[in-house]
Amino acid sequence: MTPRRAYLDALVAWLGPEDVLVSGLGANARWLPHLPVRAPVFALCDAMGAAIPLALGIALTRPDRHVVALEGDGALLMSPNVLATVAAARPGNLTCLLWANGHYESSGGQPLPDAPVDWPALARAAGIAEVARVGDPVGLAAALGRARAARAPSLLVLDVRFDPAEEIPPYSERPEEIRARFRL
């Protein structure tokens, strides 16, 4: 299974200045300040489950920008209802990346409830038609391109290797700094 950084590096290389990146809490939000992201970034440090609805509000307000939301499987399991909200709103410019590693990484690596949640099937059942499972960084770049071109809400499920030994940097930016820098 692919490690996080390989996916993150592929995402960062793919994003352009006309994209917008919203990250849920956790490892991705902690890595992003250390990576050369060309898109505006709004990263959460708490607010579990808020990344996708926040990104949806941005996408609906700025239909001229392609918005990418990063969310973890633990966070989406807490509020999967947002999939139906996204499907109903039908934004043509929102791509959700679900980082599925089966663990609550930020809180110490506890496993999610031991159920074989079929994320692509759940998203399709909620009404999101553009769904794909991504298995490697090359596939991620291709899937992102298809998602941006689809003009419909998309969910890409990334199977991420859970690595308890990954040295994730601490949060290095404060919310007021993130808020002040986020300009579209």
Partner: protein
């Protein structure tokens, strides 16, 4: 003019561009009125925390957001209010039906009605009761402007009478 229409006028005057809504009987009637606005996009949310985040997204993208919900939904929103609205200092107006106060004839709302004011105080949320006897549209507009100026939340509590 009916109360719901005056509230919509206030949201429009405050520059609200997106209203994310989870209905109850009263908020459903208000949302129907908001849908008639040419200036405000209604987003139907499945849960109230989403509605708050949606409104915040609108604000971050240069619009102005409001979240419409019952007080049961407000009680759900402690986490997102603290960890998104307050932490990142994002303007966010909540229009909340105050079920279970003395004017509400439905008995099973009473427990929510009893804890609503105390919860708003405990969470240190700026709030007001809708004043239908006064200029309700101006009150709503001032609430939106307060949220923008203070870069934070504002909660307006509605009774069923306010919407009539």
């Amino acid at each position: 003019m009916d109360g719901a229409r005056r509230i919509v006028e206030g949201l429009e005057a405050g520059g609200v561009t997106l209203a994310a809504a989870v209905p109850d009987t009263w908020i459903g009637a208000l949302t129907t009125a908001v849908r008639r606005s040419p200036r405000i996009r209604v987003v139907d949310a499945a849960r109230e925390e989403e509605a708050v985040a949606l409104a915040c997204g609108a604000a971050l993208a240069g619009g102005r957001g409001a979240a419409l919900m019952q007080n049961a939904g407000l009680l759900n929103c402690g986490g997102v209010l603290a960890s998104l609205v307050e932490l990142y200092r994002i303007p966010c107006v909540l229009v909340v039906s105050w079920r279970g106060d003395w004017r509400d004839p439905v008995y099973y709302h009473a427990p929510k009605g009893r804890v609503t004011e105390a919860t708003l105080a405990a969470w240190r949320l700026p709030w007001a009761r809708a004043d239908r006897a006064g200029d309700l549209a101006a009150q709503v507009r001032r609430g939106v402007e307060f949220a923008v100026a203070s870069r934070g939340p504002f909660v307006l509590l509605l009774s069923g009478e306010d919407l009539a």
